[in-house]
């Protein structure tokens, strides 16, 4: 970015500058920054049986991280969320990169049509996607087994969403199906930005398209891959809609598909016999905030810094 930065001295236009900045800054501060900070503040308070707030220090954190019931629920949802993220990193992003690589091949016909169609599921609401797959995978309907039958794998079909061992992984794959368009598009854009003469020179030297991709293009798009990874991380640790739609707030069976988002919702609003608690909810949200912050800081200060060393 080779721009020169702001040029006009604001003292010549104090009122306009203030009027331009104030509305956005005020709305953003009031409905985004203030609630985030206030949530962290609330996590240090307790309101027993709906009474007045009382400062309790780190008690809420102690409850969630070391009370036997709470801690097992919290760590269960944390590790489930890590698995959810791992599936996206190991399946969604490699498929996205591969599709982007194929789509950016020279002289490809119907490029735009493929791109438009493959991106389509990303446009659908998570709720819709959740129901679509719940129906297709339902043993009552049986269409999932019919589809597997076409490729001769009918025997593999089972009630995946209903089993403790497979519900979470199945949900992760549904999410991958929906979101693969994002890494595909972002990496495709990065691949387009690579100067053509760099690639042409290698092709003239006898390199195959695969070699060109692996040895020339891949190192150049690594910063985009890193950015896609952190977007995946933030998105996954903030996910809620899919699990809630398919498995409800209880994230069954037996909490096997519970992730941080559903835990936050249950803690805040309560479920079955347990009453909801705004302050404990705020504590879960603050813990999620710290996890996301840790990921973002790792990206900014470790990944991005190391990468910029390799940049042209």
């Amino acid at each position: 970015m080779a721009h020169s930065g702001p040029m006009t001295d604001w003292r010549k236009a104090k009122l306009p500058v203030f009027a331009f900045l104030a509305p956005a800054t005020i709305l953003y501060t009031l409905f985004m920054i203030y609630p985030l900070i206030d949530s962290i503040r609330l996590s240090f308070y307790s309101a027993p049986s709906g009474g007045d707030l009382a400062f309790v220090g780190f008690d809420n954190y102690r409850t969630i991280l070391s009370d036997p019931d709470w801690a097992s629920t919290f760590w269960n949802s944390f590790w489930n969320n890590m698995k959810f993220f791992a599936v996206h990193m190991l399946v969604q992003n490699p498929i996205g990169i591969a599709l982007a690589a194929v789509l950016s091949l020279p002289r490809l016909k119907f490029r735009n049509t493929y791109r438009t169609l493959i991106f389509m599921p990303t446009m659908l609401s998570v709720v819709i996607v959740g129901f679509i797959w719940q129906l297709i995978l339902s043993p009552v309907w049986g269409v999932g087994a019919d589809i597997l039958d076409i490729v001769g794998l009918k025997s593999l079909f089972g009630p995946w969403l209903g089993k403790e061992g497979s519900a979470l992984i199945t949900l992760a794959f549904i999410s991958v199906w929906q979101w693969v368009g994002i890494p595909m598009m972002l990496i495709y854009a990065a691949l387009l930005a690579i100067p053509e003469d760099l690639v042409d020179a290698a092709i003239v030297d006898g390199a195959s398209h695969f070699e060109v991709f692996w040895h020339i293009k891949m190192p150049l798009i690594l910063p985009t891959v890193a950015m896609v990874s952190i977007l995946t991380f933030v998105g996954n640790f903030n996910a809620f809609d899919l699990v809630y739609t398919v498995k409800g707030a209880l994230a069954g069976p037996n909490f096997s598909s519970d992730i941080m988002g559903t835990l936050f919702y249950r803690t805040f609003f309560g479920y079955q016999l347990q009453l909801g608690s705004p302050t404990l909810g705020a504590t879960v949200a603050s813990l999620m905030f710290m996890i996301i912050l840790a990921g973002v800081l790792f990206y900014l200060f470790v990944v991005q810094r190391r990468m910029s060393r390799y940049q042209l």
């Binding site: 702001p6 659908l124 609401s125 797959w133 019919d146 199906w177 949200a285």
Partner: protein
């Protein structure tokens, strides 16, 4: 030799298209399956789920039930109002802020830009506990206004970021010419700059719109009833209630899918251009 190269290229093209076609099928077939079955009778849905509706299996009973039992027109209108109002507000306020950040030298300019960018990475959902109590205090629970306020706050950071980048590219001469003519600062923005931003508007609108239209979280928490449901929440509640009625479930899903598909096919070029223009880097 030359012949072999050509044959190689041809077989490679076949493989490439086979790969892309199979993935396209994976992406589209599940949606296709839902939509075709929405137009079938219950028997047709279960006996031949993968067949297209025929004169024997064709039925609109699902749609009739959905339109009878749920107020999809209202839900759709709610989603449209929230989305459109939010986009207009975000575009205007973000363009104003982006202009101030990119044009004027003032103390803490960079600090303010960073402050406004925090929201790109930190999800607004984490502040939900306080947002709900704020909305209770403001008397805005179960109103579309509460959704608009939250979505504006959520949309502003990325919109300001993209528009600031864009405004840096506006030629200096243009602004200087206007200033020499003695045009006021407000008029420069509204008459000269705002029309110039148009190419970036599509990108910003898309990035603002998708998360809002598809959101379940805030409608569920801030406006869950009283006919204020958005289409996403409306479908979720409807299906929760009629979960065993396959015709109604498939029809309600199709009613939620089809408008988005049409909008997507109309705007896909702008959308994809927005996504691939390198605006998010």
């Amino acid at each position: 030799m030359a012949f072999n190269v050509r044959k190689d290229q041809a077989s490679r093209a076949v493989i490439v298209h086979a790969v892309l076609l199979s993935y396209t099928l994976i992406a589209l077939y599940p949606v296709f399956l839902i939509v075709i079955n929405a137009f079938k009778s219950r028997k047709g849905i279960f006996r031949e789920p993968m067949a297209l509706p025929t004169s024997k299996t064709f039925s609109l009973s699902g749609f009739e039930k959905v339109l009878d039992k749920a107020d999809f027109g209202t839900y759709f209108f709610n989603s449209m109002s929230v989305t459109i109002i939010t986009i207009v507000v975000v575009l205007l306020l973000a363009a104003m802020a982006a202009w101030a950040l990119s044009e004027y030298k003032f103390p803490f300019n960079t600090a303010l830009a960073i402050y406004l960018a925090i929201g790109i990475m930190v999800p607004i959902r984490l502040g939900t506990v306080s947002i709900l109590s704020l909305m209770v205090d403001l008397g805005l629970v179960n109103t579309l206004t509460s959704l608009v306020l939250v979505y504006v706050a959520q949309g502003l950071p990325l919109a300001i970021f993209i528009l600031t980048e864009f405004m840096h590219q506006i030629p200096k001469d243009l602004k200087e010419a206007a200033r020499c003519d003695g045009v006021g600062e407000f008029k420069i923005f509204f008459a000269v700059i705002l029309p110039l931003v148009r190419p970036a508007v599509a990108t910003v609108a898309v990035f603002t719109m998708i998360p809002i239209w598809n959101d379940l979280w805030f409608p569920l928490i801030l406006a869950p009833g009283n006919g204020k449901q958005t289409i996403t929440l409306g479908v979720q509640q409807f299906i929760g209630q009629y979960v065993t009625d396959w015709n109604a479930v498939l029809a309600s899903l199709s009613l939620a899918i089809i408008p988005i598909l049409i909008l997507y096919l109309i705007f896909s070029r702008q959308l994809i251009r927005g996504l691939t223009s390198g605006a998010v880097k």
